[in-house]
């Protein structure tokens, strides 16, 4: 090959990445959206349900999604710090939003919310959650709650009823243990933060959401007797063997499968576990059921969690395009289509779900649970998950610290003391995410 040919080829190859920009320079403005990992089927759903119809409806914009894998949050932080990054910003939750908004990396969305009617379309609680110092920076992409899955077939066979109080739950768990079953099918071998599912449950069901709200806002310390009672209750359940002998060895999925096979009676878990229902329950000829976790105060408390949020990059060259993407996502049409294809990841906080049409293939239990959750949140019957409302260092201490209590390396009192110290430091540094006022 001649030197000149080689040079031309090299220059041509080097210019390849610029081609898409050049070709759309006059008529289309790119909108970049970095997404975490997704299976090929789910990537396909994003293409057919989001990218293609959005681009068809917005000829002036060109939406593209870049799948960045499980390290998205780290890549995003570095990119945002250097003043680049995608137009649509996907964060792992409100604690990231607070830090990014504090650093001026996100665009306030209040004007778009007013112009595009988001305030009428979304549950007000969730627009409050996306605020930092009074300005809206993020919309919750998916929200979730904790509850109690159980094997209805197993319950019917033993004439058991779903527990409605903590006392009933404990009596049932003792009976299951006596029959050689593991009362709670749970594990954290692949996801150590699974511990906080259980901490969140007792904080809301034993201490109560009012006390959790007070602790989150600094009105009471985390060493308060009500919180201490909740942690002691969780420790008591651990010491009584409710979590079984293999909690640290089982993955979340293996533990959930034990409920379907009848080795475990119940699974205190979140709505994300609905993804595993079709895999394990029908092959075991078992019928799944889900109820809110019982509480000491009476009705179940739906602890709210936000799996991830969507924002607009403050340095975006096409903020209108990015806001249009958010507007497209937060609609009945998108909700119905996406939740028919991919449940658990796109539970958008829409105020009214009556217009959303879900496929007949979607598990009726899932549809019913989500509607109940939306109604409960609208009525103010909600609590707080720790991964959504705690600042980052407090949240990570909660996970391993709880194990120290279970394994008797420290007392619950010392655990909560360090928990509170970490929280107060982060609170003073402005790292605590927004906490919506109690209804």
């Amino acid at each position: 090959m001649q030197r000149r040919t080689l040079l031309k080829t090299g220059l041509g190859l080097a210019a390849l990445p610029l081609l898409p920009r050049l070709s759309f320079a006059d008529d289309k403005k790119p909108v970049g959206f970095w997404y975490e990992s997704a299976s090929p089927e789910n990537q396909d759903s994003l293409k057919t349900i989001l990218i293609d119809p959005f681009n068809a409806a917005h000829p002036e914009d060109d939406l593209s999604i870049d799948f960045r894998g499980t390290d998205l949050d780290k890549q995003l932080r570095i990119a945002m710090l250097s003043g680049s990054g995608p137009d649509v910003v996907f964060t792992a939750g409100p604690s990231y939003v607070a830090s990014m908004a504090q650093a001026g990396q996100l665009l306030p969305l209040d004007d778009y919310a007013a112009k595009l009617g988001w305030n009428d379309r979304l549950l007000p609680l969730f627009t409050e959650l996306g605020k930092y110092e009074g300005k809206l920076y993020a919309l919750a992409k998916t929200y979730e709650t904790l509850g109690l899955f159980y094997n209805k077939t197993l319950f019917d066979k033993n004439s058991w009823k779903a527990p409605t109080t903590i006392a009933e739950l404990e009596a049932l768990a003792d009976e299951m243990k006596a029959k050689g079953l593991v009362p709670f099918g749970a594990g954290n071998a692949d996801w150590r933060p699974a511990n906080e599912h259980h901490v969140s449950i007792v904080l809301n069901s034993v201490a109560g959401p009012e006390n959790v709200y007070k602790a989150l806002t600094g009105a009471i310390p985390w060493t308060d007797p009500s919180i201490q009672a909740a942690i002691d209750k969780l420790d008591e359940w651990w010491q009584k063997g409710y979590f079984g002998p293999n909690y640290f060895s089982l993955t979340l999925e293996q533990a959930f499968a034990q409920v379907a096979t009848g080795q475990a009676g119940m699974a205190p878990s979140g709505t994300w576990s609905f993804t595993n229902v079709p895999t394990y329950f029908p092959p075991n000829n078992a019928e799944p059921a889900f109820v809110g976790f019982p509480s000491t105060s009476g009705p179940p408390v739906y602890a709210l969690g936000i799996g991830s949020t969507l924002s607009v990059n403050a340095k975006s060259e096409n903020p209108d395009g990015a806001a249009a993407v958010l507007d497209y996502i937060f609609s009945d049409t998108f909700y119905g289509a996406m939740n028919s294809a991919w449940q658990g990841e796109w539970n958008l906080p829409l105020k009214d779900l009556s217009g959303a049409k879900l496929s007949d293939k979607v598990l009726p239990l899932y549809t019913e649970t989500m509607k109940n959750l939306s109604t409960a949140v609208g009525a103010g019957q909600y609590g707080y998950t720790t991964w959504t409302f705690l600042p980052p260092a407090t949240d990570t201490y909660l996970v391993s610290g709880m194990e120290e209590v279970w394994l008797k390396k420290i007392s619950s009192k010392d655990y909560l003391k360090k928990f509170d110290e970490t929280f107060q430091q982060e609170k003073a540094a402005g790292k605590v995410p927004a906490v919506p006022k109690r209804a």
Binding site: R77, M100, Q102, R192, S400
Partner: protein
């Protein structure tokens, strides 16, 4: 003119090693969440680190880890290498077999041990349990978690040392080995008086590198236990990672990284000294 050949290496070292290293030193004295602008905080990060009981248990775990890796894989590697030297038949086959775990990706090795050996559901331990021989998953017990992880890393690592030692042993003059045999030296005497003294520099080098690598241990711990249960298998690198990427406390992560570097520097000092001595000889 020939010094210009050093320029590309120096540029790469400056950009990829020196700049991040200096930034880490600076950040260790700053309060930074990895998102906003860093602020100077003096020695606060080091004070917080020293006051944290998890830091001390992580440091202890690193020291235990170093002790294990200075003894077990080196002893296994030496034993197997000397066997390969004595019994030449099939030595190539065994070299490949011993070396195989080294070339398997860390995450695959870890998942295989976690799922196919330790797991009470899908692993050999679970099968033994169902056969009436209860064996606890070491990763699930605070007293054994670190050793459970170290076992996996040992399985992955010792073959590398075996191949290195075997290569060194093959350089030992055949006459010395033959002379020892004719004199009626036993296996132990051969090792003690002929083979080990001959490959001493290689063993020393591997021991120094083991100290440095042991303080960098991260992958197997992170994949298998994430430092748990209850911080029982936490090492300095997983502690630094947790501070940087979960707690959003990059300053304290940088301080932990500096402590790791301190041990690495001690190892590097001895390594350079050894190399200098060898050069002089």
């Amino acid at each position: 003119m020939h010094r210009l050949y050093l320029v590309p290496t120096l540029i790469i070292n400056f950009v990829i090693v020196l700049v991040p290293a200096l930034l880490t030193v600076v950040l260790a004295f700053c309060n930074w969440d990895g998102i906003s602008t860093p602020t100077f905080s003096g020695l606060d990060n080091f004070r917080a680190l020293l006051a944290d009981s998890v830091f001390w248990s992580a440091l202890t775990n690193n020291i235990i880890w170093t002790g294990i890796f200075l003894v077990v894989p080196i002893a296994m590697g030496l034993l197997a290498a000397s066997m390969l030297l004595i019994v030449r038949r099939g030595s190539n086959f065994f070299q490949v077999v011993y070396f195989l775990p080294v070339v398997i990706a860390t995450v695959i090795t870890a998942r295989v041990w976690q799922g196919m050996i330790y797991s009470p559901v899908t692993g050999v331990f679970g099968m033994l349990d169902r056969m009436g021989l209860p064996v606890a998953n070491p990763l699930a017990q605070p007293s054994t978690a670190l050793f459970g992880v170290a076992t996996v890393d040992l399985w992955h690592w010792w073959g590398f040392l075996c191949v290195i030692f075997f290569a060194a042993l093959r350089q030992v003059p055949q006459e010395q080995i033959e002379a020892a045999r004719i004199e009626g030296a036993s296996y132990g005497q051969m090792m003690r008086y002929v083979l080990l003294p001959a490959i001493r520099p290689t063993i020393m080098l591997m021991m120094i590198m083991t100290v440095i690598w042991s303080f960098l241990a991260f992958d197997f711990v992170y994949i298998l236990t994430q430092g748990g249960p209850a911080f029982s298998s936490e090492v300095l690198s997983t502690l630094a990672y947790r501070h940087a990427f979960y707690d959003l406390n990059v300053g304290q992560a940088a301080a932990a990284a500096l402590v790791i570097s301190l041990f690495g520097l001690v190892g590097t000092f001895f390594y350079v000294r050894l190399q200098t001595q060898e050069g002089e000889q």
